[in-house]
């Protein structure tokens, strides 16, 4: 085979062959059994090199990837190193104390319930006789109580 013919075959595997050269390659392969044999041999080399490259890049990735076993890997953000753990622990303790104190206050002084109980009947009284509510005579309520509302909020549907 001539060096030009070999160039055509290599150009095919490189993928950088022009249209005119590809036409030459096609006529070469159509007529020349030796060229076809070399093409198949080069295909074997091509696949072998590709396989070797994949194997190598996979093993390189395996050996260079950070490991979770053996070596100690730090997942702390950079600012953590500058501050240290003490100020953060103090902040966390303050936040926890705040949550606990608020919980105790709410349990002993359920302000929202008291305000609601005091203000709401008066508000509804002002609309007494309206279609929706009558808090003055809860005993006469014949509507459904499935709503689990306070008795003064039972709804009458005429």
């Amino acid at each position: 085979m001539t060096s030009h013919e070999l160039d055509l075959l290599h150009g095919y595997f490189n993928g950088n062959i022009g249209d005119a050269e590809f036409a030459q390659l096609q006529s070469l392969l159509r007529e020349n059994a030796e060229a076809r044999r070399v093409l198949r041999d080069l295909a074997a080399i091509d696949t072998k090199l590709q396989g070797a490259a994949i194997t190598r890049s996979t093993s390189v990735a395996l050996f260079t990837a950070p490991s979770s076993c053996g070596a100690r890997v730090s997942h702390r953000p950079a600012w953590f190193g500058r501050l240290g753990w003490r100020p953060l622990a103090a902040c966390a303790a303050l936040a926890l104390a705040g949550v606990l104190i608020r919980g105790m206050l709410v349990r002993h002084f359920p302000t929202h319930t008291r305000i609601l109980a005091r203000e709401l009947p008066a508000l509804i009284d002002s609309h007494s006789g309206s279609l929706f509510a009558d808090v003055s005579t809860p005993e006469t309520n014949t509507g459904s109580t499935d709503f689990l509302l306070p008795t003064y909020l039972n709804i009458h549907i005429p």
Binding site: H10, L42, A44, I45, D46, L49, Q50, A53, R56
Partner: protein, 184 residues
Amino acid sequence: MELATTDLPRPNDPHEDFLRLFMRHEPELRAYVRACLPRAEDVDDVMQEVSIVAWRRFPMLAEASQFPRSACMIARYEILKFRRAHARDRLVLDEDIMEKLAEEGTEEISRRHLQLSALDDCIAKLPEERRELALMAYAPRTLMKELAARKGRTEASLYQLLARIRQELLRCVENTLALEAHTS
């Protein structure tokens, strides 16, 4: 470490028989397919179809020794199917050329097995710089333009160098097989 009962080889298990045969002959089949397809990336798609059809037809195979030839027939069909779907793409060979390549390739399948084994040694014998360059060029997601810039070369000179490396490997394989044939 103890093996679970499911890890033990099961005699006459068609799944295992098929897997063994397919894995043994996969490199030859891959080379066979590559000869007919312009892009290495397309080979994976065709090989996937070949493996599926080969598995479906495996029960019809009378002997394991028939497997490579049978797989080549399947691959030939899949190559032509792929060609019809990509007929308008660049560098797709005409169907009559593909037919010839596939037909002759089937006859070479046992030689291809020896050739691929010899290639391991030939790649190892390459000068380190050349071997590294070839493996970098063939590595997944490598862009030749970038590799050429990294190596301080032009893209064209890098392609020429790759062609020389392939040619060198071709000579090495031919010499190795000739020597083996002479000594045996």
